[in-house]
Amino acid sequence: MIHLSSFILCLTGFAALAVAMDRQQHDLFGRSLPAPATASLRAGGAAALLGALGLLVAWQGWGLGLVMFSGHTSLGAGIVHGAIIGGLRMRAKARGG
């Protein structure tokens, strides 16, 4: 359960951080988001990642907690990246691109 919670936090954290980036905002929305929204996404994303770290360290201690956190962040970032690529490809195909 802790694994699942931590993974979901990493996934949402990286999703927020990705959407907070200028290139992704243009790819996804066709424009830059307002600065306060970007700042909130960035802060929320970082907080979610820290939350995952806190959960894992509280559960397993620093040694094992950090190892697990590293794995969850790598996988979370990879899946967010894959989802962005997949989403943009589907949209391009729908437009006949």
Binding site: L64, G71, G78, H81, I84, A92
Partner: protein, 540 residues
């Protein structure tokens, strides 16, 4: 390599130098690194692979009580290896369905085999027989010492490759100027740029793992690579024994007393260890001179849940079962080594963490693979005549095919050999390995003889077909087909079949992508690239 010559100032920027360094250290031993990465990655499931490769051993649905098993096997060893100066058994756990034990042979004459080993049934204590195979240990050993060469040579080659990898990681980080800006960037259908984006993503997402696994890999064999400190500091037999005690839970046999005394209850000793470390967290029982009044027994803690391979064990007087010592810590230097060693092996992992290790390590394999392919993609655009590439280009291109797609074919062929070779074949375990290398050599021959694109596609399809059909072969040659494993709750066999199909899907997708790929015409080059550190970054 010749781009932008006119525009480049005399001085070379740091990033440009690092880019060149990254390209060449990545390439020179890239195929070795790819093979080390992939075989190392599957080794995170080596115990499960070994179970699958010994289908005669029944599935273990529940882990038996290790204390009871320890007593049972200790009794059996008293019969199988009477008077042995030392025996050691690894208790069953969630990932091992038999008890592996080895022993020193009592009074072995020079030239005679001084060690014996065997797998025992945890339920009956009897020796179990299965087909001759090295199981998952083949991939595990191959990933740091290769085969068909002295072990020390293999380990040196692995060490040099790992050092190249470490240089490639550091130089890659310096070269990649937009780690954060380009964190989620992937530009689809842009040829070389797309390969670079994929390579960057695979490298950056798993960067902590890739750096850790490379560095700790070197640490596991540091005594071989840098022996001088140890040689200078450890001079006497007593010092050597002290060093061994810091690194391992194997107690060394002293001299027997010559007075017969039966071994006290091993079950009680393991119970004491269980109270301290948990029911299923006792790893190994070692006894010296069992049956003698001078017998000693060490019960070692398992690897679960602690990021350290430093030995922790309880030491008992064999004849009375009295607890003599509790070894729960080592010195700071030994503990540092123990932690780094544990990080590399990941044996402390629960199943989720093991999967994380596997997936991120697979990304590391893909990182090396995309790097190798990118070397070709970059240079293809610059060939004066793409129909007649230079020899170096052709060598790299063909080695890439056999090194990447061919390795998938060969590794799967190893598993096919496990099911197809007659059980009675002499030297069977070695023939499985010969099969792996024969098939790998054939993929190289195929890569040389066929046009490059066709060779890629054919080998990827072959790997996909072999993987997809392996569960079918398993169903035909063993009484443990997928549906039976699923129904019986046999997660090892069912998981293996599912994994084969998933990997078959991955290879098929790669084959389709490669088949559909049409190289785009060479784009017009811009006269000057973005300046970096006073120079111009070349991408070649």
């Amino acid at each position: 390599m010749k781009t932008d010559q006119d525009a480049r100032p005399a001085g070379r920027g740091l990033r440009q130098s690092m880019s060149d360094l990254h390209s060449w250290v990545g390439l020179l031993l890239g195929w070795v690194l790819y093979a080390m990465f992939l075989t190392g990655t599957v080794s995170y499931f080596k115990d499960e692979l070994s179970q699958w490769m010994r289908p005669e051993l029944p599935a273990q649905i529940q882990v038996p009580d290790p204390a009871v098993v320890a007593q049972r096997i200790a009794d059996e060893l008293g019969t199988v290896a009477p008077g042995s100066p030392q025996w050691s058994l690894r208790l069953p756990d969630a990932r091992n369905n038999s008890v592996y034990a080895f022993w020193r042979t009592a009074g072995a004459a020079p030239g005679q085999r001084a060690f014996g080993e065997g797998n025992f049934d945890a339920a009956t204590g009897r020796t179990v027989t299965s087909r001759g195979t090295l199981g998952g240990d083949f991939f595990y050993r191959f990933h740091f010492q290769f085969h068909y060469m002295p072990v020390v040579w293999g380990r040196w080659i692995a060490g040099i490759a790992a050092m190249f990898m470490l240089v490639a990681i550091v130089s890659g980080v310096i070269t990649h100027k937009k780690i954060f800006t380009d964190f989620f960037t992937f530009r689809w259908g842009r040829g070389q740029r797309s390969w670079l984006d994929a390579h960057n993503a695979l490298s950056v997402f798993g960067l902590p793992f890739h750096a850790m696994i490379t560095y700790t890999g070197l640490v596991t064999l540091m005594a071989l690579y840098m022996p001088w400190g140890e040689r200078a500091a450890i001079r006497t037999a007593a010092e050597r024994q002290q060093l061994t005690a810091e690194l391992s839970a194997f107690i060394q046999p002293g001299k027997p007393s010559g007075e017969t005394a039966p071994l006290a209850s091993v079950e009680d000793m393991v119970r004491q260890a269980q109270e301290r470390w948990g029911r299923d967290n006792v790893g190994r029982v070692t006894a010296t001179h069992a049956g003698d009044a001078a017998a000693r027994v060490a019960v070692a803690r398992g690897d679960g849940g602690r990021v350290s391979m430093s030995p922790q064990y309880l030491e008992f007087e064999g004849s009375t079962g009295r607890l003599l010592a509790v070894h729960e810590g080592v010195g700071a230097a030994a503990e540092t080594r123990g932690v780094l060693y544990a990080l590399h092996l990941g044996r402390f992992s629960d199943s989720v963490t093991r999967w994380l290790y596997f997936l991120v390590s697979l990304a590391g394999t893909a990182m090396v693979g995309t790097g190798l392919v990118m070397w070709i993609v970059k240079r293809r655009q610059k060939l004066p005549d793409p129909e007649r590439p230079h020899v170096g280009f052709r060598v790299v291109e063909r080695l890439n095919i056999a090194g990447i797609a061919g390795l998938s074919v060969a590794m799967t062929a190893f598993l096919w050999a496990n099911r197809l070779l007659p059980v009675t074949l002499a030297d069977r375990a070695n023939w499985e390995i010969h099969g792996f290398f024969i098939v790998w050599a054939l993929t190289l021959l195929h890569a040389v003889l066929r046009p490059a694109k066709k060779a890629w596609v054919e080998q990827l399809w072959l790997a996909a077909a072999l993987l997809a059909l392996l569960p079918v072969l398993n169903a035909v040659t063993t009484p443990r087909p997928f549906w039976h494993s699923l129904g019986a709750g046999d997660r090892v066999f069912a998981g293996m079949d599912a994994m084969c199909w998933a990997l078959a899907g991955l290879h098929a997708a790669l084959a389709v992508r490669t088949q559909r790929h049409q190289p785009k015409p060479r784009p017009a080059r811009k006269p000057v690239r973005e300046p970096v550190n006073g120079a111009v970054l070349r991408e070649g």
